[in-house]
Amino acid sequence: MLELRKDIFADERDDNLNEIGKGTQRQDMLGHVTGTSSYFNDHKLQGMLHLKVVRSTQAHAQLRHIDTTEAERSSGVRRIIRGADVPRNLNTLLSLINFGKDDEPTLAVDKVRYKGEPVVAIVADSEREAFEAIAKVRIDYAPLPVVLDVEDALKAGAPVVNGTYPKNAFIYHDVHDHQKLRFGDADAALATADHVLEQRYQMSPIEHAPTETNGAIAAPDTNGRYVVYTSTQALFFSVDTCAKILDLPSNTFHFIGGTVGGGFGGKVDTLTEPLAILGAMLTGRPVRYVFGREEEMQYGPPRGAERIYIKDGVMRDGRVIARKIRAYFDSGAYTRLSSYAAVKCAAHLPGPYTIPNVYGDVYCVFTNRTPATAMRGFGVTAMDFAIECQMDKLANLVGMDPMEFRILNAYRDGDMKAHRREAKNTALIECVQVAAEKAKWPIREEFKRASSRKDGGGSRAVIPPTPTDSRSRPAAPVQQRTSYDRLPPAVTREPPREPPPTAPSPPPPRPAAPSHGAPRFSSVFGTRRR
């Protein structure tokens, strides 16, 4: 049970709220524990057909020729769907919030960019007949050079994975090939540090391994609408993604879902719904498309791999004075959500610590791997692992207790964070104190007395002079400011950049209005100031 430490945070929460702080039974709990909850795959509709996809056997190849003549004659086959049958066969998930370019086809057309990419979909009377037809599809591949390592992918001359991003890096605001964070002068501080520690960290992709694999059943309804039973964990996101790919108004679809047999981030990519609906549109019958277990494990999107380099400067007394980070997010062959993960990561640097000089470069890189997606705190999880390993190593280096070392460097309320937001409700110090107490880990009195609510702000709230990179800045800011993210006059503490901005350039042309009324999200665009 969650414990709110009233001794530390007496005024943090009103105890007289009706729901918050009270134990509430989940509305779906009874169904789950009695085994009566209805999942998408519990619907067996009359005349239901089964869709399976032919997946690429190559990690990177031109598609010379796709021969489906034998498959079309295979027993029970109702329809073979090719890329040309998909109304808008190019999409990127976050285009719904106008972030990133469409880069991923529903069915590959000219090229495959990862092993397992869907090339052809087969709709048949039974799964077995669909499998038999799959075995009869002949695809002539012309293999291309493959790049599987994030750093190799960024080298000059690396094979281009995804033509939408020819440098194999996601492009932010139309110009930047990475997320850049600069706070103070990390290089100068490293030169004055008593110790410098540089380490490399790496995390492999992680599969969500849901009990229920990704899947959907789409059925024609009255008035030209379609009912869709789906495993999605992002129902309205999936509705809009389908509306875009199938080029129909979103009210064409009646999505039924919400009972998810395990998602954890692996069911936001809307991989099965568009093809299931398209199958239903082309055959006039209910169509079911469910991943097999191997498909789920091998081609269902994982948490992306990351490689992280951290270089820290620390003083003998334990103060970390500089942290320089280079991180590479392996997005796989297409964008999905890793572009957003890199933004979150940059905002999270240098971790929950107040370090006066921070330097971060975070890349979202394309490789010929299975596209990565969301998973529980993605963008932050691997980085936190790396940072906390590094904190232990630093504590050891200066001969300090790791708990005390964290309390010493922890951020406090009122401190300025590297991405120029004031830290609030920090509470790391209290967490470390309580963890030490519960683990019976001895910490000294002065560290027991430390508080996240004392000694923050002041000089720690100042944005230090920050040199700009020598590389010339892009000519025009591409992000357009709106009244929503207008800079309030209060935030003017940052010293002017060198050189100071010249005469305002003419506002760039407004990006083409997204057809789905894409809203703007400050967490992605990073332009909103408090």
Partner: protein, 272 residues
């Protein structure tokens, strides 16, 4: 074409149907065949089953133990007289897989599975099979070497001699996920001691070659010697001789080669 399921009352009828149809596969507990069907393996067009009681018979009263091919690992674990086989039976899958998976099916389980077969190989088991031409007994090693060609034969039972002492048979499975992960490597050793010396050493390895294999070089080192530290070290350094491990998601060939000796040393010196 739909998959046909044929159930026969006798093993001879089932064996006949199995050898007559290249697309036929015998279904024991279904932990391999049903998975293949669910994942779209179109090479299986007929599923053969047999309800013959002989397939689920255990004879564990004498010095020689016979297990019907349809005996599940859960059944072995419930049998007190089969204590020496409890460690390999327990190392397979979770409760659901142990409840369905059978001794006969395990003989066909591809790497990284087939751990029970590693134990049977160390115990010099005999496999009784029924082909188109009646029943015969095959030494397990011979059976495994020709496993690809055994698809048309029906395994009836396996039998092996009970180890002379609890200490004479040792088994260890190295897995990343405990207790039910796939095997990184699996080791079984049968080391009967006669007059203080090992007589008839058999070491079997799983996931060190396309099928379960014996570590003959290590066996030669052990033969006729007492199980002391020097002998164990010599056996450990010889264990990878003649093996051909492979890379998979659980471990690389290099890693398997590196750890095989370490785990054999621990197994023989009673550390695991």
């Amino acid at each position: 074409m739909a998959v046909t399921v044929k159930t026969f009352a006798s093993t001879s009828e089932a064996a006949g149907a199995l050898s007559a149809d290249r697309g036929a596969r015998y279904l024991g507990g279904g932990t391999l065949v049903m998975r293949a069907l669910n994942e779209g393996d179109v090479s299986v067009s007929t599923v053969i089953r047999a309800s013959d009681q002989a397939l689920t018979r255990i004879d564990a009263s004498g010095p020689r133990v016979t297990l019907g091919a349809g005996i599940t690992f859960a059944k072995i674990l419930a049998e007190r007289d089969l204590g020496f086989l409890h460690a390999p039976a327990r190392s397979i899958g979770g409760p659901a897989v142990r409840n369905m998976g059978t001794v006969g099916g395990n003989l066909f389980a591809p790497s990284p599975y087939g751990d029970f077969t590693v134990a049977l190989l160390a115990l010099d088991a005999t496999v009784a099979v029924q082909g188109g031409f009646g029943t015969r007994d095959i030494a397990i090693e011979e059976f495994l070497q020709a496993r690809e060609r055994q698809a048309g034969t029906l395994v009836l039972s396996v039998s092996c001699a009970r180890p002379a002492s609890a200490d004479a048979f040792r088994y260890h499975k190295v897995a990343r996920i405990k207790p039910k992960g796939g095997s990184v490597i699996t080791l079984a050793a049968h080391l009967p001691i006669s007059g203080g010396r090992i007589a008839g050493a058999r070491i079997a390895l799983g996931s060190m070659a396309p099928t379960q294999i014996r570590a003959r070089a290590a066996e030669r080192v052990l033969e006729g010697r007492s199980l002391d530290a020097a002998t164990i070290a010599a056996a450990a350094s010889a264990v990878t001789e003649g093996t051909s491990p492979f890379d998979n998601a659980l471990g690389s060939a290099w890693y398997r080669r590196e750890i095989a000796g370490v785990h054999l040393r621990r197994l023989l010196s009673g550390q695991e």
